[in-house]
């Protein structure tokens, strides 16, 4: 017997590649990992920052040299505020976006 798929309406969801070794495979175990939240707004990366309405490309992520990742809008707003002294909010190292 030969089975041919003529059409397949599948459903998938997208995620950000947040880890260096993240290749989309076998990561089921960290689905709801705490690490998937933006450290500033505490919204998952795949959600959007408080100022945005649309997730995804409209509200991208930004990774710093310190390897911390935030919503782009969140970290820029933080870095531009005077009390931040241009530091990463998690480890107080100087924030340099990659």
């Amino acid at each position: 017997m030969k089975v041919t798929i003529t059409r397949w309406d599948a459903i998938a969801h997208w995620r950000w590649q947040t880890r260096a070794n993240d290749n989309g495979d076998n990561d089921d175990e960290n689905d709801d990992d705490e690490g998937d939240l933006c450290g500033i707004c505490r919204v998952p990366f795949e959600g959007c920052c408080p100022t945005c309405k649309m997730p995804g490309e409209d509200c991208p992520l930004l990774r710093g040299q310190c390897t911390h990742i935030f919503h782009l809008h969140c970290i820029l707003k933080w870095v531009h505020s005077p009390q931040s002294k241009g530091q990463c909010p998690l480890d107080r190292r100087e924030w340099v976006g990659l």
């Binding site: 798929i5 309406d9 989309g24």
Partner: protein
């Protein structure tokens, strides 16, 4: 005793002087009577004679006996009256005559008894009618004599009438009133046919009421007369109106009243009215009274029918308008509310009724009662129990939402179409706008919780059943998700339009999530087209932002290599197009269209991914046991494997072996599936999706309940034992954001029971330590 004898001698001693004084007094009196004239004794005698003559002439006679020849001629009689006039004897004469009338009532009695008995035996009202003619004759014969007094400025007519009335009333037998009622009813119903047959003396008789009026007893019979009319109105309403909701009955009834009943009562109340105008003036109050009764009867009837009237709305609109007028005439609103609430409890708010039916009836009730009472007091009183009941039902929101999201649900044919879609108003916002020039105070029969509500559309009312709108948004999201994923032909126009409408209602921010879902769908279409350009693939994925979609029931499923290759290929291309993003597949969702090329036939089928994966494995190996497949596909539930295998068996592709394994039929078995060559067969995966979605909603509720677990645990620990009601009540009181129904709590507690966290005994829950 000793003193007694002494008195007599004293008397004897004074005997002469007493006789003397009597004589003197007598003489004096006679002189006074004579007025100082002479020949007094002769005059006395003449007067006595005149009195006798007058009495003889006046004496009431029995009309059934032949009239005796007049005992004295006119002139003698007149002289007698003249004679009696001077010494003021006419008044005593009249008095004597009236006494005679009273004494002679036995003559009447005989007739009355006879007619009444005849009626009792035959029930013939026509014959009974004769009684009034006879009475009339009595009256006129006896009353004729009174005229004689008129010449001497003595009007004895009223006195006579009074005497006659008193005599008449004193001798009426008990059954007279029922006979009279029957007669009146007959004259009312049959007013034409009653105009008496020309033959009898009836024809020259005046109308019945005129006769009664003549006797002066109309007021005594008023009760009977009005009762007859009341009863007739009731009968009329009950005969013509029940179940007739499609046309207005009130004008017809009033027409009947004016045409038939009014002339009838005109005889009673206004027989003496000189002209039309006067007649109307006299009848005005009476007519009002009966019109009130008419309205009340119709009102009672419609109130009893109101539940079915609402069911049939808007076909029954005329009945509602009738009722509106009747309610405004009569003060039956409280009764109406009570009745409708009773009907609703008995016929609507029970477990046998479907939620959609209850909603439909509620919506009709809203429309109906708005027409009936624009101020909304009635609606407020009636709606509250319905709303409370709907709140308790677990599937109310789902039902409302699924109707919201379709074009032709119970909300579809709504009147909102004309007024356009309006945003949902918050039921709690303060209603009193003091700058409103059209402001009215609350109606005086409003309940304490009543607020004058501005006209709101029905959907707002439905949504306001629940305090929070979030539940609706949640349910809308689930529904939209299900629908969007079910669309495979790329035609999202309808859903987009509907979403726009919903946004108008609920507001953009509330439906932001749905907006994201819609955007995901549109992006997916673009992505698919972009990737298709790189190389043809049967895969049509929908890429969703999973945080914005309802929780998808996720089960692990390891797809066969052929299918996995397709996915991986697509995922790689996707990541190339969208740097920084990668795809995670939800393997158990979606639909797969397959073509199976077997030795003797080709089978096409639209199946679930699981079913596709199962059949795929048969292409390499033609016999599998369910357990082997479950291991291969990494599926824990053997049941879903079995059902997938059975689906293929039904298509005649597989066959179950006696040992429970399944075998691929390269060549079709006779009579089984053989006829299905080249046929597209649907194994309705939609229904599978449906069940899953429903389960998802349930599961989500339980998940949401989980945040309250600590509360429940603490409660059970400190109180020891609690019933479900107590837990529910305390949570409602103490727990923030607790908006679940008791049913949800029950489901949750059951799941906690399964996990061994609590135990239940006779409906009392207790924590397991």
């Amino acid at each position: 005793m000793n003193k007694e004898p002494q008195l007599f001698p004293k008397m004897n001693h004074n005997e002469m002087s007493i006789e003397e004084s009597l004589r003197t007094n007598w003489q004096f009196s006679i002189e006074v009577l004579n007025g100082g004239r002479e020949d007094s004794a002769g005059i006395r005698l003449l007067e006595a004679r005149a009195w006798e003559i007058a009495c003889e002439a006046l004496k009431p006679r029995n009309i059934h006996l032949p009239a005796p020849p007049p005992s004295y001629d006119e002139r003698t009689l007149q002289q007698a009256f003249e004679m009696l006039k001077a010494p003021h004897k006419l008044r005593p004469l009249l008095q004597w005559f009236l006494d005679q009338i009273r004494n002679c009532r036995y003559m009447l009695q005989k007739d009355i008894l006879e007619f009444t008995r005849h009626w009792e035996e035959t029930m013939d009202v026509r014959h009974f009618r004769e009684l009034f003619n006879v009475l009339s004759e009595w009256f006129s014969v006896w009353g004729k004599e009174v005229l004689a007094f008129k010449k001497y400025d003595l009007d004895g007519h009223f006195a006579f009438q009074r005497a006659f009335r008193a005599s008449l009333l004193s001798i009426l037998p008990p059954s007279f009133s029922s006979a009279f009622t029957a007669l009146l009813k007959f004259t009312l119903v049959d007013s034409e046919s009653f105009t008496p047959p020309a033959s009898q003396s009836l024809s020259r008789s005046p109308l019945l009421f005129e006769q009664i009026n003549t006797f002066g007893v109309s007021e005594d019979f008023e009760n009977i007369i009005t009762n007859v009319l009341y009863e007739e109105i009731r009968v009329r309403v009950m005969d013509t109106c029940p179940g007739e909701w499609e046309e207005s009955m009130l004008p017809g009834l009033r027409e009947w009243f004016t045409q038939k009943a009014l002339p009838w009562i005109a005889g009673m109340y206004a027989s003496g009215a000189p002209n039309e105008e006067r007649l109307r003036a006299v009848l005005g109050p009476v007519t009002q009274k009966f019109d009130y009764h008419l309205c009340k009867m119709l009102c009672d009837l419609r109130t009893n029918e109101i539940f079915d009237i609402i069911v049939n709305y808007p076909n029954s609109m005329s009945a509602v308008l009738d009722l509106k007028e009747c309610l405004s005439r009569t003060d039956q609103r409280a009764k109406f509310v009570q009745a409708l609430r009773k009907f609703n409890t008995r016929r609507l708010l029970h477990h046998g009724a479907e939620t959609s039916n209850i909603l439909e009836q509620y919506i009709n009730t809203i429309r109906c009662l708005r027409l009936l009472d624009p101020a909304g007091v009635l609606l407020f009183s009636v709606a509250e129990p319905i709303r409370r009941y709907l709140r308790e039902r677990p599937d109310t929101i789902r039902c409302i939402v699924s109707n919201l999201a379709t074009d032709d649900g119970i909300l579809g044919l709504s009147d909102e179409k004309d007024s356009g879609i309006t945003p949902i108003r918050d039921a709690l916002e303060s209603a009193d706008d003091y700058s409103d020039p059209n402001w009215h105070p609350e109606p005086n029969d409003a309940e304490p919780g009543f607020r004058t509500s501005r006209p709101t559309d029905i959907i707002s009312i439905l949504v306001s059943i629940y305090d929070s709108r979030d539940l609706f948004i949640k349910e809308l999201q689930i529904l939209l998700g299900r629908r969007l994923l079910a669309i495979t032909d790329g035609d999202y126009y309808d859903e987009m339009r509907r979403l726009e409408q919903l946004k108008l209602r609920f507001g953009d921010t509330q439906l932001q999530v749905c907006e994201v879902m819609m955007k995901d769908i549109l992006n997916s279409v673009r992505t698919r087209e972009g990737i298709r350009e790189l190389g043809e693939t049967p895969l049509h994925p929908t890429v969703i932002s999973h945080l914005f979609w309802p929780e998808q029931a996720k089960t692990s499923l390891v797809l066969p290599l052929e299918m996995k290759v397709l996915q991986d290929d697509f995922a790689t291309k996707y990541s190339d197009r969208n740097p920084g993003k990668y795809l995670k597949w939800i393997p158990n969702l979606g639909t797969v269209e397959l073509k199976l090329e077997l030795a003797d036939r080709t089978v096409a089928a639209k199946v679930t991914p699981l079913q596709a994966a199962v059949i795929h494995h048969f292409s390499n190996q033609d016999t599998w046991t369910p357990q082997e497949l479950a291991d291969k596909l990494d599926i824990a539930e053997a049941l879903s494997i079995t059902s997938a295998l059975q689906a293929w068996e039904n298509l005649g592709v597989l066959e179950e072996m006696p040992d429970g394994s399944y075998f691929l039929l390269e060549t079709a078995r006779e009579g089984r599936g053989a006829k299905r060559y080249n046929k597209m067969v649907l194994i309705a995966p939609e229904t599978v999706g449906e069940v899953e979605a429903a389960e998802t909603a349930e599961r989500e509720q339980t998940e949401r309940m989980r945040v309250h677990w600590q509360f429940i645990k603490g409660m059970l620990n400190s109180f020891g034992k609690l019933t479900l009601e107590e837990i529910h009540g305390k949570l409602r009181f103490f727990a923030p954001d607790y908006d679940h129904t008791q049913e949800h709590l029950a489901i949750f507690m059951q799941s906690a029971l399964k996990e061994g966290l609590v135990e239940v005994h006779d409906g009392v829950w207790r924590a397991v330590r």
